[in-house]
């Protein structure tokens, strides 16, 4: 419904602005719903949404609508940096495919679905994710898997800084991050559970992780292909050769990762792994006096 401007009255809710910043109110209202919807097509249980020019809030509403109307596969085309794709999505049997580069906080608080990104992803992938599977067929940015408590994230390429911070495991929930390429500094800081595997596929010489690995880590385990020097480690963790049980687990993780990424696990397993784990589950237990 369009309204004639003569019949619409704007009633101020407060005194006139005298802001020193000169910022126009309109610029502050990002996060308000955009109106343009993406064109959507349905074939049975498969829905395709064209994301060009669609605001993230509208796009995510459209994704939820399609799923609620019975779609089990949602394909997003022409994605250019829309944030929060899959955020808070709680449908276990749904697959969302992203064609293009999604924005930050992809799959944040996600609970169940499978989310496939066919290009690079940005920062904050799987932030506090609860369950489900995220596959990134490119590189991913910083803070991937922050506070993640379940599900898996498979990245084909490299990841940025502060990946897997404060991941935690509880009961049947065991979060897993597998990185096909390299990881930057502060991998697994404060880690409180779960598994991080860094493969560095194609690199048979250098270390595939950065510095400050596992700083403040107090539970969980990391398996890193190749070598990790003492100076790369946080002071709360140690590195050693994987035992029998570790090797079985590494093989199982690599097998599944290679199945998804269509790689040959035998080639990946040729370079040996090291295991990184914390000295104690209570690194600060004796720091205080009452």
């Amino acid at each position: 419904m369009t309204l004639d401007s003569a019949t619409v009255r704007k009633v101020p809710t407060g005194p006139a602005r005298k802001g020193p910043t000169g910022i126009e109110p309109a610029r502050l209202t990002a996060g308000q719903p955009g109106t343009a919807r993406g064109s959507a097509a349905r074939e049975g249980k498969r829905a395709v949404i064209d994301g060009s020019g669609v605001y993230y809030k509208t796009l995510n509403e459209q994704i939820r609508e399609e799923i609620e109307q019975g779609a089990v596969e949602v394909v997003l085309e022409n994605i250019v940096g829309q944030r929060y794709i899959g955020t808070g999505l709680a449908y276990p049997d749904v697959t969302v495919a992203v064609n293009g580069v999604p924005g930050n906080d992809l799959a944040a608080f996600m609970n169940g679905p499978t989310l496939v990104v066919n290009e690079n992803a940005q920062d904050g992938v799987a932030n506090t994710m609860n369950s489900g599977l995220v596959i990134v067929n490119g590189n991913a940015g910083d803070v991937l898997g922050y506070g993640m408590r379940g599900g898996s994230v498979y990245v084909r390429g490299d990841v940025g800084y502060r990946v897997g911070i404060h991941m935690k495991a509880f009961g049947a929930s065991l979060p897993l991050i597998v990185i096909g390429g390299h990881a930057r500094d502060f991998l697994g800081e404060y880690m409180a559970g779960g598994e991080i595997v860094v493969l560095g596929i194609g690199d048979d010489d250098t270390s595939v992780v950065g510095s400050y690995v596992g700083t403040g880590m107090h539970a969980g385990v990391m398996y890193v292909r190749g070598h990790v020097a003492a100076h790369q480690l946080g002071k709360e963790v140690r590195v050693e050769q994987p035992g029998e049980a570790d090797l079985v687990r590494i093989a199982a993780i690599v097998d599944d990762y290679c199945r998804v990424m269509e790689l040959d696990p035998r080639e990946v397993l040729q370079r040996p792994f090291v295991k990184i784990y914390p000295f104690t589950s209570r690194p600060y237990g004796r720091m205080y006096v009452y």
Binding site: L3, G88, R149, G216
Partner: protein, 507 residues
Amino acid sequence: MAYTTFIPPEFRVVIDREACQQCGRCAQQCGWNVYTFDSEERLPHPDHSKCAACHRCATFCPAGAITIKKNDLAFKQSDSLSPDLVKAIWRQAETGGVQLTGMGNDKPYLRVFDHLLLDACQVTNPSIDPLREPMEMRTFLGRKPDFLEVAEEGRAGGGPRLLTELDRQLQLETPIMFGGMSYGSVSLNVHRSLAMAAAELGTFMNTGEGGLHSDLEPYQDHIIVQCASGRFGVDSGYLQAGAAVEIKIGQGAKPGIGGHLPGEKIDYQVSITRMIPQGTDALSPAPHHDIYSIEDLRQLIYALKEATGYKPISVKIACVHNVAAIASGVVRAGADIIYLDGFRGGTGASPTIIRDHVGLPVEIGIATVDQRLRDEGIRNRASIVAAGGIRGSADVVKAIALGADACAIGTAALVALGCHVCQKCHTGCCSWGICTQRPELTRRLDPEWGASQLVNLVRAWTHEMAEVLGALGVNAIESLRGSRERLRGLGLDKTTLDILGVKPAGL
């Protein structure tokens, strides 16, 4: 020669031997293991060094035979190196540890609230009797629009129609809510008491960073769930359950540092609520590692909005030196509510140096934040909740006059539940069953009774506030909000008065 300790006991437990009935209740009630019994005479022998002056034994002694006194052991008078500082040096020399403490800052800094006086009507403008005339205490927290669009016609039944779509609001029947205290730091019975009271009062309790126990689900419409740096107990169900989500950036008692719930407090129930294994330390990092800027904060605010269907998002910050500029950024980041926590605010555990020396009074925080947001024309975009040292209804009224929309209480609520402010929350030995997970202690707090204590307290405060509003000649809390003209400062210096935006008494 090696000594066990130089530190003398802080208190002396004095037992009237003639009155003592030798019933043993003191030993049974004490959470600190102060008492042992002489097996033949059945006489209690106190170990003074363990006493926290929590008064549990004295309250429950049927003969009234127990008195807790300060240990009068004299130290040579020194205004510089007080006995407390000397004892702290000994304690740290003996252990090498960082000193921990509980509750809020107890040091004698200026209490601004105690230097503010309220106005009242005399002769020329009539006061209102709240016993006979309605007083509107209802408060809405959340983003208000910049302007309202109204069509002159179109309402069902005729008349103008509101076109602007309003953001979701939290509706409080009184501008007092309960501050965030996690299950784990306090007992589940405290959480039950708070949740039941919040539902009955039409206000809100806040989970703190410990997750939401399933027993509290019936009250979820009156619960604000917290998302802090450790993300304990946070999943999509938890976010959906709350009436609003609070991002905890900082806490008044310990600005700038994280939290650390020791493994001893993580029992089975706490572990399933926090979603971490039993007996492990729960470490909350100092920052959220996905928030290094205002833009990052905005990202998390909108991630939470996306995950909750656009519920109000609160951001809790501690009052620190630049709080006004920070608050402006927080509001521009999209927070619907900004929760300001002053340096008197309580904690379950904080390094003593942080609790006692970091932060600012909430009074300064409210005044500077309210003024800054008004100056920038964005005050309508977020409500201000003030907390951290709200001790009574007078503080609530003054905070609202300074510019807060509502206040939150934590310590005061625990005192209503029996807390004796002994500042030993971090030990997990709380004899009153409040700040402990030991089942023989937590069962001492009956949630039904606890809820009735809290309801009584908040109702009484609300009545008192209505009396003040009546004296001020206004009939709605809304009319007092930010009305600093109704405050005068007594004994405050000019700079402080200018910062508060309050005139000195006499002007």
